[in-house]
C-alpha cells in the first residue's frame, strides 16, 4: 500500500525551477515590440506642482509617449480602497499627481520608449517646477488641529477615529491594584519582496482582449478592481500572476502602475512593461506597521489582568491603498492575546502623513497587537516582581476547543488552543529554570544575558466573508484527466509558500495517486475559477479546504462510477490506495478516469468527466499560537546584541508538510528579527526617505540569523475538516516580542523595562554608559 504523504516533509516541487533560475517572473516574459515605462516621481514630500515640462523627453529619439498626471488621471478611475470604517475620510487617490504631490515617490509622469534606457534618459529630461509646502510626518502630531493639512478638501489630517473592544474598561482599571503604562512605537517597515513589482500589459484590439501580467497575491480581486478603474469588461481582462517572488502583503494590493500600464497598452497599441527598481520599491510600494500607542494595563497583586487599553495613532500615509484603513482594526481584534482579560478598549486615531501608504505587511496589524500585549505582560511582571512565565500562566484560559471556544473581549471566539502545552514544551527545550540560574551567575560575572518569552496567538485563515471586504471564501476545481493525472485549480495564489506541493499532497492521499501525478494551477484568471488570493495565512486553511472538499465530491462521483463498472451497489464500494473494491472485485482509479472520459459505460443519470468545483466559506477564523523564547547576550562595552539561542514551539493545527511549516516559521522569525533589531523606514524632517536603499535599510542576512530550535504542538482546528490553521505569519507575530523582551531582560537589573524597536547597539551603549556614570 502506498504511503500517505500528508504530514510528510517532502521537498517542494516548486524548488527545482526556482533554484535553477528557470521560473518565469513578469520580467522574464518577453513580448515582441514591447515598450518600456519609467516613472518620474516626486522628490518632495509635499509640494504644489507648478509646471511639468515634458517637451525634451517627448523629442528624445525612441520615446513613443509621455503621460503626465493631468493627461490621464481623469481617464482612469481612482486607486481603490476596499476597506470601510464608519465616518472614514477618503481622499480621491488618482493614479498620478496632478496639482500636488503628497510623498517622495508620488508618480508625476511616465515615459514609454523603445527600451528602458531610452525611457530613463527621457525621464531625466522632464522638468518639474515645485512649490514646497510644509510637511506632516508624525502620525501623532498630524492629529493636532494646528498641524498643516495634507488634503485640503478633508480639512484635517484625521482619516478616522474608532473605538473598539468590550467590557467596562474604566471599571476594570479602577478595580486593578496596579496600572502599568507605556508608550510604544511600531516603526514603519518596508516589505522588501525579493522580486519588486512589475507589470506587462498587452491589448489585442481585434479580440478586444487585454492581458495583464502582474506580480500580485490577488489575481482575481486585482482583475475586478482594474476592470472598474479602466471601465473595461472584467471578462475581457485576463490577469496573470506568473511566478511571484514574494509579497509579504505588499502585493495584496492594487496599484496605480497596474492600471496605467493596462491603459497605455490600449492607447499605444503595443505591449508595455514596467519593472520596479529597488529604490522605487522602497518609495512607492506600501510600508507596514506605523503606529505609536499608549498602553494601560490593570492587574491584581497576584498578576490577574483586569483590563487593557490601547490608545493608538496609526500612520496611514498620504492616501489609502487597498486595505490601509483596515490594518489598525486587526490590531484591535487581537489585543487580548492568549489571556483572559475582562475588558479591552482600543481607541484609534488614524492620520494622514506625507509618506507612502501603509498597508498589510506580514502579520498586518496583528504583530502590533501581539507586541503590545506581550510587552504589557512583561511590564506587569516587572511591576509585581513576578516571573514573566508565571504572569502569563496566571492569565491563560484552560485548554479549549469546539465544545468551549474561548471568547475574548474583542468580540472573537478563538477556535481551539492549549497555551500551557506549547509553553511547557518550549520551557523544557530551553531548560528555562536553569537558564535563569545561568543568567544570575553571568550577571554576577559582569556578563549581560537576557531571556525573553513570548506566548502569542494569532488570527488566521481570513476568513469568514462577513469579516472581509471582498469575500473570505476560497475556490478549488479538481479534475482527473483521462490518463488519471490530477489537475488542481486553486483560487489562492501562492507565491513562495509551497502550496503547489502541499495541495498535491492532499490530492495524492485522497485519490491514491502520487504527488508527481498532480499539478496545481493558479494565478491565471482565464484558467482558474474566481478566487480570493493568498494572504492572511489563508491559502491552506481556506484554499486547501476547498481542494479537500472538491476531492470529496470527486470521490463520490468516482465511487458511483466504479460501482456501475463493477455492477454493484455504490454503498458496498470501498476506496483505498487508488482502488475501488466491492466483494472481491475491484477497479482502479485509472480505469475509472478513462471510463469517465470515454463515456461508454456510465450510469444513466451520470454526466461524463471527472471534475468538481467547491467554493468553501469558513465559519470562523483559526487561531494558531505558540511560545517563543529568545536568549541574548549583550556586549557590555559596545551594546552589541548577540542572539545565543532561539526556541520556538508553534501550533498551527494539523500539519500537511512540516518542512513547509518550518520554512514559514524560519522566514517569519527572520522578519521579526529585522523589525526588533535592524529595520526602520526613516523619513527626515523634510520627508526625504533616508533609508531608501538596501545599503541603509537592514534586512537580515543569513549570517545575522541565529540557529532556531523548532518544535510544535498540534491542536486541530474545528473550523475545517482537515484541522489546519495556517502558519504564514506566525513567526513575524510571535518572535518580535521575545527578542525585544530578551534585550530588555538583559538590562533589567539597570532598571530598564522597555526599549523601542529597532533596538540599536548604540542605544544600549548609551544606557550602559549612563548607568556606569551613575554608579561611579
Amino acid at each position: 500500500m502506498a504511503e500517505k504523504v500528508v504530514g510528510k516533509g517532502i521537498k517542494r516541487t516548486e524548488d527545482p525551477r526556482l533554484i535553477q533560475g528557470l521560473a518565469h517572473y513578469v520580467d522574464d516574459i518577453k513580448l515582441p515590440d514591447t515598450l518600456h515605462a519609467v516613472f518620474v516621481r516626486s522628490i518632495y514630500a509635499h509640494a504644489r506642482i507648478k509646471k511639468v515640462d515634458v517637451a525634451a523627453a517627448q523629442k528624445t529619439p525612441g520615446v513613443v509617449a509621455v503621460y503626465t498626471g493631468k493627461d490621464i488621471s481623469q481617464k482612469i478611475g481612482p486607486v481603490p480602497c476596499g476597506a470601510a470604517i464608519p465616518d472614514m475620510k477618503q481622499p480621491d487617490h488618482r493614479v498620478m499627481a496632478t496639482d500636488k504631490v503628497y510623498w517622495v515617490g508620488h508618480p508625476i509622469a511616465v515615459v514609454f520608449a523603445e527600451n528602458k534606457y531610452v525611457a530613463r534618459d527621457a525621464a531625466d529630461k522632464i522638468e518639474v517646477d515645485y512649490e514646497e509646502l510644509p510637511v506632516v510626518l508624525d502620525e501623532e502630531k498630524a492629529a493636532d488641529p494646528k498641524s498643516p493639512v495634507i488634503h485640503e478638501k478633508i480639512g484635517s489630517n484625521i482619516a478616522y477615529k474608532l473605538t473598539a473592544g468590550e467590557g467596562d474598561i474604566e471599571a476594570a482599571l479602577k478595580a486593578a491594584d496596579k496600572i502599568v503604562r507605556q508608550k510604544i512605537y511600531h516603526k514603519r517597515l518596508a516589505p522588501i519582496a525579493m522580486e519588486g513589482r512589475g507589470v506587462l500589459a498587452r491589448y489585442y484590439p481585434g479580440e478586444q482582449e487585454l492581458t495583464l501580467w502582474t506580480s500580485t497575491q490577488i489575481p482575481h480581486l486585482a482583475r475586478t478592481q482594474i476592470s472598474l478603474m479602466l471601465g473595461f469588461p472584467e471578462n475581457k481582462l485576463r490577469l496573470i500572476a506568473p511566478e511571484v517572488g514574494g509579497g509579504f502583503g505588499s502585493k495584496l494590493n492594487v496599484y496605480a502602475e497596474e492600471a496605467i500600464m493596462a491603459y497605455a497598452s490600449m492607447q499605444l497599441g503595443r505591449p508595455v512593461k514596467w519593472i520596479e527598481g529597488r529604490r522605487e520599491n522602497m518609495q512607492g510600494t506600501i510600508h507596514g506597521r506605523g503606529q505609536v500607542g499608549y498602553i494601560e494595563i490593570g492587574c491584581k497583586k497576584d498578576g490577574t489582568i483586569t483590563g487593557f487599553r490601547y490608545n493608538v495613532f496609526a500612520d496611514m500615509g498620504s492616501y489609502f491603498q487597498l486595505l490601509t484603513p483596515a490594518i489598525p482594526t486587526l490590531t484591535g481584534l487581537m489585543l487580548s492575546g492568549c489571556y483572559k482579560i475582562p475588558a479591552i478598549q482600543m481607541n484609534v486615531t488614524a492620520c494622514f502623513t506625507n509618506k507612502m501608504s501603509t498597508d498589510a505587511y506580514r502579520g498586518a496589524g496583528r504583530p502590533e497587537a501581539t507586541y503590545v500585549i506581550e510587552r504589557a505582560m512583561d511590564l506587569v511582571a516587572a511591576e509585581l516582581g513576578m516571573d514573566v512565565v508565571e504572569v502569563r500562566r496566571k492569565n491563560f484560559p484552560e485548554p479549549f476547543g469546539a465544545e468551549n471556544p474561548f471568547k475574548v473581549a474583542t468580540g472573537l471566539f478563538y477556535d481551539s488552543g492549549n497555551y500551557q502545552g506549547a509553553l511547557d514544551k518550549a520551557l523544557k527545550m530551553a531548560d528555562y529554570t536553569n537558564l535563569r540560574v545561568e543568567q544570575k551567575k553571568a550577571r554576577a560575572a559582569g556578563r549581560l544575558i537576557g531571556v525573553g518569552v513570548s506566548t502569542y496567538v494569532e488570527i488566521c485563515a481570513m476568513g469568514p466573508s462577513p469579516a472581509l471586504p471582498a469575500g473570505g471564501w476560497e475556490s478549488a476545481t479538481v479534475r482527473i484527466e483521462p490518463t488519471c493525472k490530477v489537475t488542481i485549480l486553486t483560487g489562492a495564489s501562492p507565491h513562495g509558500q509551497g502550496q503547489e506541493t502541499s495541495f498535491s499532497q492532499i490530492a495524492a492521499d485522497e485519490l491514491g495517486v502520487t504527488v508527481n501525478d498532480c499539478t496545481v494551477i493558479h494565478g491565471d484568471t482565464a484558467v482558474v475559477q474566481y478566487g480570493i488570493g493568498t494572504f492572511g495565512s489563508r491559502a491552506t486553511a481556506v484554499g486547501g479546504t476547498a481542494v479537500y472538499l472538491a476531492l470529496q465530491k470527486l470521490k463520490a462521483k468516482a465511487t458511483g462510477m466504479a460501482a456501475h463498472m463493477l455492477g454493484v451497489d455504490a454503498k458496498t464500494v470501498t476506496f483505498d490506495d487508488g482502488k475501488f473494491t466491492s466483494g472481491g472485485k475491484s477497479v482502479t482509479i485509472q480505469e475509472v478516469a478513462l471510463n469517465a472520459h470515454l463515456a461508454k459505460n456510465l450510469p444513466a443519470d451520470m454526466e461524463p468527466g471527472l471534475s468538481a468545483t467547491t467554493f468553501f466559506e469558513p465559519k470562523n477564523f483559526t487561531f494558531p499560537f505558540g511560545t517563543h523564547i529568545c536568549v541574548v547576550e549583550i556586549d557590555p562595552e559596545t551594546g552589541e546584541i548577540q542572539i545565543q539561542r532561539y526556541i520556538a514551539v508553534d501550533d498551527c493545527g494539523k500539519v500537511i508538510n512540516p518542512l513547509l511549516v518550518h520554512g514559514q516559521i524560519h522566514g517569519g522569525i527572520v522578519q521579526s528579527l529585522g523589525q526588533a533589531l535592524f529595520e526602520e523606514v526613516v523619513y527626515d524632517e523634510q520627508g526625504q526617505l533616508i533609508s531608501g536603499s538596501l545599503m541603509d535599510y537592514a534586512v537580515p542576512k543569513a549570517a545575522q540569523v541565529p540557529w532556531m530550535e523548532l518544535d510544535r504542538t498540534e491542536t486541530p482546528s474545528p473550523v475545517n475538516p482537515m484541522g489546519v490553521k495556517g502558519v504564514g505569519e506566525a513567526g513575524s507575530i510571535g518572535a518580535t516580542p521575545a527578542i525585544v523582551a530578551a534585550v530588555v531582560d538583559a538590562l533589567a537589573h539597570l532598571g530598564v523595562r522597555h526599549l523601542d524597536m529597532p533596538i540599536k547597539p548604540e542605544h544600549v551603549w548609551n544606557i550602559l554608559k549612563k548607568n556606569k556614570a551613575g554608579a561611579a
Binding site: E637, L694, A698, K760, E762
Partner: protein, 288 residues
C-alpha cells in the same frame, strides 16, 4: 537601476589602458571588478561616457615576494588574497581582512586595486594597507610612481590619483621578526561595510613592542593611521593595561566622524577605541 549610456572598451595591456585613459580623460572610468562602480552607475551617481575594462589584463593579477617586498597586482581579487598561501604565512592580516570583506560574490569579483582607487570611507582594504605601511604603485602618463598609503587616501571617494593614472599594485615590506596581526570589524547591518574596521600589525622584540601599524576605517571621511596609538605602543610591554591605554587614543583628533542612521560619530569613535584594544589584544596574542 538603469545606467546612462556609455561605451565599453576591453583592453589587453596596461599600455592600451593608459593610452585610452589619456585619450578620454575625465570621460573615462577604469572598470576593475565593478563592485563599487557598477552600483554607482546603476543609480546614475556616476555617468562615465567610457568604461575601460582592465579585467583581461593578466599582468595585473599576482601576489609575489621579491627582495623582502610583497607585491599585489591591482587586479588581484579579494578571494585570491584570502586564499594566498604566501600572504597567510607572511602577512596574515590581508587574508583576514579579505574574509571579512563583502560576500562570496564580491570577493570573487572585486579587486584590491579597484577598492583602494574607489576609496570608500568604510571599505576594509584602506585600513589594512595603512597598517602594513604599503605603497600604492600608480602608473600614469609620466610613468610609474609610488604613493604612501597614508597619503593616497585624501577624502571620501577621493585619492591622490591624477587624471590618466591607474593603480598598478600594492606593495609593502614583508613583516619581519616576531609579528602579530589582526583585523577586526563591526559590520553595518545593511551594507556590510565597516562601521569601524581596525587593522593592526605589531612587532615584538624582547617582550616589548618595537613597531606597530594601526589602520582605521569607517570612522572618518577617510581611513587613517592611529598615530597616537602607535606612539603609545612603542616600547610598551603589551600587557592588558598598556594595550587599553594605547587603544584609548584610537580616535584622537577625529573631528569629522561619520554619523548615519545606524551609528553616530560619537559611537563610532567609542567603537574604534574598544575594537582597537581588542585587535591589539588579538595581535599581541599572535605575536610569537
Amino acid at each position: 537601476m538603469i545606467p546612462a549610456n556609455f561605451d565599453y572598451i576591453t583592453v589587453k595591456s596596461l599600455d592600451e589602458a593608459l593610452s585610452l585613459l589619456a585619450k578620454h580623460k575625465d570621460d573615462a572610468k577604469i572598470l576593475a571588478g565593478g563592485h563599487s562602480l557598477l552600483p554607482a552607475m546603476k543609480l546614475r551617481l556616476m555617468q562615465p561616457k567610457v568604461l575601460i575594462d582592465i579585467g583581461k589584463i593578466k599582468e595585473l593579477s599576482y601576489i609575489k615576494e621579491e627582495g623582502g617586498q610583497i607585491h599585489i597586482g591591482a587586479m588581484t581579487t579579494h578571494f585570491q588574497i584570502e586564499t594566498s598561501a604566501l600572504l597567510q604565512k607572511s602577512c596574515p592580516l590581508l587574508p583576514e581582512t579579505a574574509t571579512q570583506l563583502g560576500d562570496m560574490q564580491v570577493r570573487n569579483k572585486g579587486t584590491i586595486g579597484g577598492s583602494v582607487a574607489h576609496a570608500d570611507p568604510a571599505a576594509d582594504w584602506p585600513a589594512a594597507v595603512i597598517a602594513v605601511g604599503a605603497e600604492i604603485v600608480v602608473i600614469g602618463p609620466k610613468g610609474e610612481r609610488a604613493i604612501k598609503a597614508d597619503d593616497f587616501f585624501v577624502d571620501m571617494l577621493t585619492t591622490s590619483l591624477q587624471p590618466g593614472d591607474l593603480v598598478k599594485e600594492v606593495r609593502f615590506a614583508a613583516p619581519k621578526g616576531k609579528t602579530g596581526q589582526a583585523y577586526m570589524k563591526v559590520r553595518h547591518p545593511a551594507s556590510g561595510f565597516a562601521v569601524v574596521g581596525i587593522a593592526v600589525t605589531l612587532t615584538v622584540d624582547g617582550g616589548k613592542c618595537s613597531a606597530s601599524g594601526i589602520g582605521v576605517t569607517g570612522v572618518s571621511s577617510k581611513p587613517y593611521r592611529a598615530k597616537s596609538v602607535e606612539a603609545a605602543l612603542k616600547g610598551s610591554a603589551l600587557d592588558a593595561k598598556s594595550l587599553a591605554a594605547a587603544a584609548s587614543h584610537a580616535s584622537d583628533g577625529i573631528s569629522d566622524a561619520i554619523s548615519e542612521l545606524y551609528a553616530t560619530g560619537e559611537y563610532r569613535k567609542h567603537l574604534a577605541e574598544i575594537y582597537t584594544r581588542r585587535a591589539l589584544e588579538t595581535a599581541a596574542g599572535r605575536a610569537k
